[in-house]
């Protein structure tokens, strides 16, 4: 009998924490769906933080998403977020925030390291958050109201990864990867560049950074080549002009890897193996010269990739991780990193592309 009493008493103890868990309910929270960081001209308050807050509603329908955008300037991001709380009536909740936009101005003048400090320290910010550059600034991206949004903020994150659209010129960069690239020797940060156009986002360029600031922004064509060779992105196209018209191959499978040849004066060899089918071509071109076409297409892709690699090298950044690979294969050499830094400005590249065309689609 006594034993049962003790058991019930212990069980009753479990009821105590149920009285709220000191937790704020969902109706007293504001869900932040995207956050933007810009730089101001005021030296006292150099940071401008813009938050997009979801106005929750029971309707889930395209075009019914409403959001409130709040902006505040402060001496640091953490302080800005605290100050911003006094502008709103509910507690800010970052648990669902997966989009962070760095203003282009901030990345060109001040760099992203301060903003990264805040992101990496917060326990409620996901490692798989998408980070991007806002062109011309972060606030313009956050003020955009895409008409296709079903609930606030979903248009932006569906763009990245392969959750929604699988665009070959959209580079996806996660928070944990940016943090890795910020510190890694021989691997430099990359960020997609987003631009707002009327009621949509346009994310088809990539910014290449040194450890802090933007060094180079690639155009959409280069971005696609970069994305194919650095991230093995599929659903891309390889195009080539011919006498009768343009030949376009849709890539279905793509794999790339790096090797290094030569001892003291190494050459970086980037191997690409692409498989696909022709999506657009003049009739009966493939039948006439199947292997020749594959070879010419590969050669053309190799040339454009080599051009891109030299362009990136001349800016002194290494988004592919060639340096990291060099360190991985030169073990036990203390000076390997110093040596690599001295040879990288003059390093030679070779791209070997192996194209396999599977067919021409439905017609010859």
């Amino acid at each position: 009998m006594r034993r049962t009493c003790v058991g019930w008493l212990l069980l009753a103890l479990l009821v105590l924490p149920l009285g709220g868990c000191q937790l704020k309910d969902i109706d007293k929270r504001f869900f932040v769906v995207s956050a933007g960081f810009d730089q101001t001209d005021d030296p006292e308050k150099p940071y401008r933080v813009t938050l997009r807050l979801a106005l929750t509603s029971s309707k889930v329908e395209a075009g019914t998403a409403h959001a409130q955008v709040e902006t505040v300037d402060a001496a640091s991001i953490a302080e800005a977020v605290r100050h911003l709380k006094s502008n709103v009536d509910k507690e800010l909740e970052f648990g669902h925030c997966r989009e962070f936009v760095f203003g282009r101005g901030m990345l060109e003048k001040q760099g992203f390291q301060d903003a990264m400090q805040w992101l990496a320290r917060r326990r409620d910010i996901q490692g798989v958050s998408n980070i991007m550059v806002g062109d011309p600034d972060a606030a313009s991206i956050l003020h955009t109201k895409p008409i296709s949004e079903r609930y606030p903020g979903n248009a932006l994150f569906l763009t990245f990864g392969n959750e929604g659209t699988e665009a070959s010129d959209t580079v996806t960069e996660y928070m944990f990867d940016l943090y890795r690239r910020e510190y890694e020797t021989g691997l430099d940060p990359i960020l997609p560049v987003a631009r707002s156009s009327q009621h949509a986002y346009q994310i088809n360029r990539v910014a290449l950074l040194d450890k802090n600031k933007i060094r180079l922004i690639l155009n959409p064509e280069e971005t696609q080549v970069f994305n194919m060779t650095a991230n093995d992105i599929r659903k891309a196209v390889m195009a080539m002009p011919s006498e009768k018209g343009r030949i376009v191959m849709a890539v279905t499978r793509l794999r790339s890897w790096i090797t290094m040849v030569g001892g003291t004066d190494p050459k970086v060899v980037l191997h690409v193996r692409a498989t696909g089918f022709l999506e657009q071509s003049p009739p009966r071109v493939l039948e006439a010269d199947w292997h020749g076409l594959e070879r010419r297409m590969g050669k053309r892709f190799s040339e454009s990739t080599e051009q891109l690699l030299y362009k990136i090298r001349d800016q002194g950044v290494d988004p592919y991780g060639f340096g990291l690979h060099y360190l991985a294969i030169h073990r036990g050499r203390q000076k390997a990193w110093e040596h690599w830094k001295s040879i990288y400005p003059d390093i030679r590249f070779e791209v070997r592309t192996d194209v396999k065309i599977q067919g021409t689609g439905m017609v010859r």
């Binding site: 212990l10 103890l13 479990l14 924490p17 868990c21 000191q22 937790l23 704020k24 990496a120 326990r123 996901q126 490692g127 798989v128 990864g161 959750e163 996660y174 944990f176 990867d177 943090y179 890795r180 690239r181 910020e182 510190y183 890694e184 020797t185 691997l187 093995d232 991780g321 990291l324 690979h325 360190l327 991985a328 294969i329 073990r331 036990g332």
Partner: protein, 386 residues
């Protein structure tokens, strides 16, 4: 029933993450942490093989009974005391680290003592059962949690974001001379074999521990995964900046179609089960060692009614955990867990030496009893608990 032995090996191997073993190894990744791993695998396997062979010679006897048989009473009680301290502390560290991590990621607004209270109540209840129930609970909790944990580990290993170049760079550091503390910490993965000290009571006479090659296999796998996967995700440099290294690593994974997309929460929930399992076993072992110091409590493995002393001992352990939580912080917990990992290794070595001595003494006394010795006397005479 040898599978129960391997359950201990598996969950203790998985618990290395909560014991901060990867954090310690990663902080020594450029100063001898890598070369400590193969050494630890060799040493851990050797200790596990030796102790399991020794325990096979004393079926049905736990460590306290073996002590009683060969050592004077005061020395047996003293050694039991060391066992109580080392086992109970292990549970306390895990319970504190776990409730701390949960508080950080699940609900930072809640008082940390609420998390601790809920976990402590579950641990008190689970640890105060009889040895047989504890053993069955092991099986149930492990079957519930391991498939998903293996799935997460596999998902991490096959992720395209895993950087093999970074892993290679760190693996190449294997030529550096090993660091002692990394070696002691890494042997923890093989500590599951030590739980036979108490659970040997449940074995039947003449049992044979087969498939012991599983121990090095499982230990090596867990050690390599828990060390190299975070490096693959965070790179060779940034990995040293993180405090909750495995929580952050699972946060790099995404379940697109899962109803929670952050793998972190699934991972922490699964580690709730594993932590409960670990604390249950350590506290139960400490409790039984404590009881073995008094003649009033003869070893009993199947007790339908839980004696009151079980409750008292476990509640006392929970109270110590609360006191510890009050006085400690993250940094102190880190230091204590390092001290614990090192002292645990030495106690394991001493214990193995003692067991070998006992086996030798046992064989001697058997031979003497059988005097005059037969020349054909097989030294591997079956030791049936007489």
């Amino acid at each position: 029933m040898i599978r129960f032995y391997y359950y201990h090996v598996v969950y203790v191997g998985l618990m290395n993450i909560m014991m901060l073993v990867p954090a310690l190894l990663i902080s020594h990744r450029f100063s001898g942490g890598v070369s400590a791993i193969p050494l630890a695998i060799a040493a851990g396997t050797l200790i596990a093989y030796l102790t399991s062979s020794c325990f096979q010679r004393f079926p049905g006897l736990g460590l306290p009974e073996i002590f009683d048989r060969f050592l004077p009473r005061w020395l047996a009680c003293f050694l039991n005391g060391i066992g109580i301290v080392i086992w109970a502390t292990g549970g306390i560290i895990v319970l504190y680290s776990y409730s701390n991590t949960i508080g950080l990621f699940f609900n930072p607004e809640t008082s940390p003592y609420i998390n601790l209270t809920i976990m402590a109540i579950a641990c008190i209840w689970a640890a105060s059962r009889c040895s047989r129930s504890v053993q069955f609970t092991n099986e149930m909790l492990l079957i519930l949690s391991t498939p998903m944990i293996f799935w997460i580990l596999l998902k991490a290993m096959l992720s395209p974001w895993l950087d093999w170049d970074a892993i290679w760079i760190v693996a190449n550091q294997v030529t550096k001379p090993p660091s002692a503390i990394s070696f002691y910490a890494a042997t923890f993965v093989f500590s599951g074999a030590m739980n036979a000290t108490l659970f040997n009571r449940l074995t039947k006479p003449g049992y044979k521990l087969r498939y012991r090659w599983i121990i090095p296999l499982i230990g090596t796998m867990f050690l390599l995964v828990s060390f190299f996967v975070p490096i693959g995700f965070h790179g060779t440099q940034a990995v040293g900046n993180y405090l909750y290294i495995w929580s952050v690593t699972t946060d790099c994974l995404i379940m697109k179609y899962g109803f929670i997309q952050r793998v972190l929460y699934l991972f922490l929930l699964l580690y709730t089960l594993l932590s409960l399992l670990f604390v249950m076993n350590t506290w139960h072992t400490a409790m039984e060692f404590f009881k073995a110091c008094f003649r009033r409590y003869p070893p009993a493995t199947d007790q339908p009614r839980v004696p009151a002393v079980n409750w008292y001992v476990c509640i006392a352990l929970a109270a110590i955990t609360f006191a510890y939580a009050y006085f400690t912080n993250d940094l102190r917990n880190r230091i204590l867990s390092e001290i614990w990992l090192v002292s645990r290794f030495f106690i394991e070595v001493i214990l193995t030496a003692l067991l070998l001595l006992f086996v030798y003494m046992d064989r001697r006394s058997k031979q003497r009893r059988r005097a005059p010795p037969k020349s054909s006397g097989n030294p591997a005479s079956k030791a049936t608990g007489s």
